[in-house]
Symmetry: C2
C-alpha cells in the first residue's frame, strides 16, 4: 500500500523528546520551496504526533520567516503550557540551524455545548455542477487539489483592471481524494490563490508571511466528511504598503463551518 502524497509530504520522524525530522515533497512544490499549506500541516502534524498531546486542535498560527529550501528540515514542538483541558504549543521549523517557520498551536479537550454557525454557507451549485479548470497548475501543488471555481478562479489575463473585489468561492478536495482530517483541513485553509491577483489583474511577486486557522470541528466530524468536497471562500480586507490580508471560511456540504482562517501576504511592486 502506497501512502497518499499528502501523508508522505507531512511525514515526520521523531528525533528527540520534542524534535522531529521531515523533508519537502516535490508533489507539493510551489514557485520557491513548498506550498505554505503543506508546511502549516507539517507544523500541526508535529503536535498531533507528540506523545504529550492533550485534546484536538483549536487554533494554529504559522509564520513563514523565510522560504523553506527543498530538502530536509527539523521541527521542534514544545508544550509551553498544559492546563486541565487546554494545551499551548510553540513550534519552530529550522534548516541548517536557521528559523524558517515559527508557530503556535492551541489544542483542547472539547465537549458538546450550544452551537451555531453564524457565518452561513452561501448558496452555490453542487460540486458536480461546477466544471474543473481545463489547464494543469503551473506549480505542482495546485495539481494536488481538485478545485472547482464558482467565483474568482485563477486570474486569466494580466490587464491591470481593478475587479472591485477579490472574493473567491470554490469547491476543494485533495487530488487524489483523501478522507478529511485536521492536517488536510489546515492545508486546505491555504489553498486560495493570492487575493491581490484577483482584486486587480496585475502580476506581482508575493508570499504569505503569517496564517492563522481556527478549527470548529471535531476529528469525528472531519472523519465523517470522508472525501467529499468542502466549500471554500476567501476575500481580502485591506491592501497597502506591501501587505494585504484575507479572511477565509471552509464549510462541509451540510453547511457546518469546519474552519475559519486569516492570512497576511507580502507583495512587491
Amino acid at each position: 500500500m502506497i501512502a497518499h502524497p499528502f501523508d508522505q509530504a507531512i511525514a515526520l520522524t521523531a528525533s528527540g523528546e520534542n524534535t522531529f525530522t521531515g523533508a519537502t515533497s516535490p508533489a507539493y512544490a510551489n514557485m520557491v520551496g513548498p506550498y505554505g499549506g503543506i508546511t502549516a500541516a507539517t507544523v500541526l502534524n508535529a503536535v498531533l504526533q507528540h506523545p504529550a498531546l492533550l485534546g484536538e486542535p483549536v487554533s494554529l498560527t504559522v509564520n513563514f520567516c523565510a522560504a523553506v529550501a527543498d530538502g530536509p528540515f527539523e521541527v521542534r514542538a514544545v508544550a509551553a503550557r498544559t492546563n486541565r483541558s487546554t494545551q499551548h504549543w510553540t513550534v519552530a521549523i529550522t534548516q541548517g540551524g536557521e528559523s524558517v517557520v515559527t508557530a503556535t498551536v492551541l489544542t483542547a479537550v472539547r465537549r458538546d455545548t450550544w452551537a451555531a454557525v453564524e457565518h452561513t454557507m452561501p448558496e452555490v451549485p453542487a460540486p458536480e455542477d461546477v466544471p474543473l479548470p481545463t489547464a494543469r497548475g503551473r506549480v505542482e501543488w495546485i495539481n494536488r487539489y481538485e478545485m472547482r471555481f464558482i467565483e474568482g478562479g485563477f486570474p486569466g489575463v494580466w490587464d491591470e483592471r481593478d475587479n472591485g473585489h477579490s472574493r473567491t468561492r470554490q469547491w476543494v478536495r485533495d487530488q487524489p481524494p483523501r478522507a478529511l482530517d485536521f492536517a488536510s483541513l489546515t492545508s486546505m485553509a491555504d489553498v486560495f490563490s493570492p487575493r491581490i491577483w484577483h482584486r486587480r489583474a496585475r502580476f506581482v511577486p508575493l508570499g504569505t508571511v503569517s496564517m492563522t486557522v481556527y478549527f470548529h470541528a471535531s476529528s469525528a466530524l472531519l472523519a465523517a466528511n470522508g472525501e467529499r468536497h468542502l466549500l471554500g471562500q476567501a476575500q481580502g480586507q485591506a491592501f497597502g504598503q506591501g501587505f494585504f490580508d484575507h479572511s477565509a471560511q471552509l464549510w462541509n456540504q451540510d453547511g457546518l463551518l469546519l474552519a475559519t482562517s486569516h492570512q497576511v501576504v507580502y507583495y512587491k511592486e
Copy 2:
C-alpha cells in the same frame, strides 16, 4: 507630568538582552487578572522597545495560556529571524517561571504601494451623535475606553433569547483620550465584549485563548489620527464545543482600515 494609565500599564524595564520586566495595572483589571488587550499591547511593546527592532508591526498573535496573576511578570522577546525588510519575533510572558502568554510578532519596513480598502466602513452616525453608556463598567478596564455603541452594546438582560447574530458596531477611543499608536490600536482590537453574550443572552464564563491582529497602517497614519474615535466592528463566525471565534475591523474616520483582528474564545456551560 503624569503618564497616561495606558502607558503606565504597558511600561517595561529592560532586564537583559532579550528580557523585560513589567507589572499588571489595576487601571486595566478584568474579572480575573488584566484585560487581554493590555497584555497584547505589552507583548507588542517589548518588540517596539527592543534595540534590534526592524520596521513597524505587520501582524501579532497572542495566546493566553493561563490567567495573568496581578503583580510582576517577565517578558522575553527574541528576533527569531531578521531578513532584509522583515523580522519575525517570538515573545513569551512568564510568571514564576511558568508560561502565561506565548506570542509571535512580524515587523517590516513598509513602502508605499497600490492600496485599497476592500472591507469598507459601514455608514454610521458620527461619534458625537451616539450616546455614551450611562452605567460605569463592572470591571475596571471598561472605564479606560470611551465606547459609543451603534449596534450590539453590552448585553442588558440575560433572558436566553437567541439574537440571531452577534454583530457589534461601536466608536472607541481611550478614556482619558490618548493619541493613537500601535500599542493602543492593539489593545483596542480586543475591546469587543464576548460575542456569545451578544448572540444569545445567556451568561457563560469564558476567556479569549488566542488573538491575532493585522496592522494596515503606518505609525505616521496612526499619529495623524490623534485622539479621534475609531469605528470598531466585530462578529462571530462559529460557536461550538466550548469555543467560538470572531472577526473584527477597526477603521479611522476617513474610512481607512487600520487593523483587522480575529480571536478564539473558550466558553463553559
